[in-house]
Symmetry: C2
Subunit: 334 residues, 2 copies
């Protein structure tokens, strides 16, 4: 399979992107990486790498979208920027998927521009995988669709469930609806109507009802459906709380030790590494006709390689075919 990588995306420049692609190509024998960015720069990075060159291609697209740039303006002013070239390659059928650590809004804008969506899906949603006390759970949407309709959330339930089965290996994923209380009837109109859609449709067996913020990390469910506004706040809040708490632990717990300070510090570092976002392979934009994974802007080699690995698995496991079949089995939208 062929996956495009936006080499100019992210805070760290081409180096970690190319290194991540090299790692992914070396660990996925069926993967050809199409590196989209400044050709000269990519070639010189590749010259220093050990990688089967027949599975690494380069597409020259030296213009970058800045992390702070307004997506719609970027699309107008820089239609050939590396991230948009990745989308063009997908639209032309030249690649099966794309990975970018660039401006999230620009990635989503590129999707909207090429209209490369699954026909059955009304609005794509960004999913993110979170660690929990029982394993992992997936939250959809974390920012693509800040004011969704109930039908969109129902489709996020289907897509999240397929992803949980095929990529996270959870046989019968339980789905929860993010709300302000567990009882039926809680929350605003959007969640009340969404609750009814889940309860009356083919997902009723998997749908456990409303869940609350504290359920995410308890691992109460495997898939959490929410609007992109709440989901985006959740995503960034988790990052902030992890940072805050682990800094405190480093200062106050590791800092309180004497002879075993190194041992405690190493254990904390190990924990931070295992629960760092880079271990979870980026955030898939579900509902695209192809595969699209958005990485954190600060992604380094390992995060990029993991994201390419997840994208490759999405292709192998035919995630989209399953999404099309299962959304097709839903009652028609009224």
């Amino acid at each position: 399979m062929r996956l495009a990588l936006d080499v100019l995306g992210g805070d760290n420049g081409a180096g970690p992107n190319v290194a991540g692609a090299v790692l992914a190509v070396n660990t996925n024998p069926d993967l050809t990486a199409v590196l989209v960015g400044d050709q000269g720069q990519i070639e010189s990075l590749l010259a220093a790498a050990t990688v089967p060159r027949e599975r690494v291609e380069v597409v020259h697209a030296p213009v970058a979208v800045d992390m702070k740039e307004k997506p719609v303006e970027a699309l107008r002013k820089k239609p050939d920027a590396s991230i948009f070239r990745c989308w063009q390659l997908l639209a032309e059928g030249a690649v099966d998927g794309l990975v970018s650590a660039g401006n999230t809004g620009a990635v989503v804008a590129g999707a909207a521009k090429t209209r490369k969506f699954l026909k059955c899906v009304q609005k794509p949603g960004i999913a993110t995988v979170m660690p929990t006390a029982r394993g992992r759970c997936i939250i959809v949407d974390v920012g693509a669709n800040v004011f969704p309709k109930p039908r969109h959330l129902l489709e996020y339930g289907v897509m999240g469930s397929v992803f949980a089965r095929k990529i996270l290996g959870i046989e019968q994923p339980k789905i929860g609806l993010m709300n302000v209380g567990e009882e039926e009837g809680k929350g605003h109109e959007l969640v009340q109507k969404t609750f009814d859609l889940f309860r009356s449709g083919p997902l009723r067996e998997q749908f456990v009802g409303n869940v609350e913020g504290r359920d995410i990390h308890r691992g109460t469910v495997d898939v959490i459906v929410t609007d992109g506004f709440t989901g985006n706040v959740v995503l960034k809040l988790c990052e902030g709380v992890f940072e805050f708490v682990l800094n405190l632990v480093n200062q106050e717990v590791v800092g309180a030790l004497d002879a075993e300070k190194d041992k405690g510090g190493a254990a904390l570092k190990g924990l931070m590494g295992r629960y760092h976002y880079s271990a979870f392979g980026g955030a898939p934009l579900l509902g695209v006709d192809g595969v699209c994974i958005i990485c954190h802007g600060s992604s380094k080699e390992r995060a990029i390689a993991n994201a390419l690995g997840v994208a490759a698995r999405e292709v192998r496991e035919k995630v989209n075919e399953a999404i099309v079949a299962e959304i097709g089995a839903l009652p028609a939208d009224e």
Copy 2:
């Protein structure tokens, strides 16, 4: 001043509520606690306590609202339940404020029933104080108003700012609007219109613009304004992440130690105590004509005493007088 305490509220029964009141009365010489619950039970708990009895009164209201009970049904079936009796006392002017660790919905329903709101405030909001890397911040609303209007959020900004000044001691609080990105124009219509209200009104100097989920714990601002849906998810999520991360640290960091395991465990316990919600004195329902503080259902003696202490400070510091003056200075709602 006189504060009512809902002795039947919370998961832990009358014991910790009465003990918390005794502690608060002993540390606040100007406080008279009015204990609302089962008179016999309260009297026997008081008999074992050392407290100036002239500053502890008892109101017999032996019916409790269950934590899982639907608020509106509870109000209909049990109009004399302890929490509603607290509101009646406030409405009659018999107390200056009330504290309850009971069913949050019932506390808010009691407020709505007695209509004991500040006239200038369109919708009360629940505030919560969070620890940050730079101190503390306050988030309004965390669950009273899940589908607010922009004007409500503007008023939450005023109320949060007054609380931050008078209770948290922050001289010129910075206000942020919870959103999915920092740039102007981000998010849905509610936040876009709210942004404009802040920018065009008398709070413009204090308003720093949009903030994201990760800004909460970084302490970027002192007051964060958000809708009650997002705020409630944030509040419960923080609780869940703290629990999750600190359990991990206990297992993996403290668990990795040998000779200094006790030292590490004690440091972790100290940190958990300082950042536990009980240290922050409950969540004030702002916009009430009087003082109302909602405590976590699992509150024990210390949390109840802290909440009564904060309620007493709200009365002393004339928080409501300042809210009325500052909302009065806003442009009229269109």
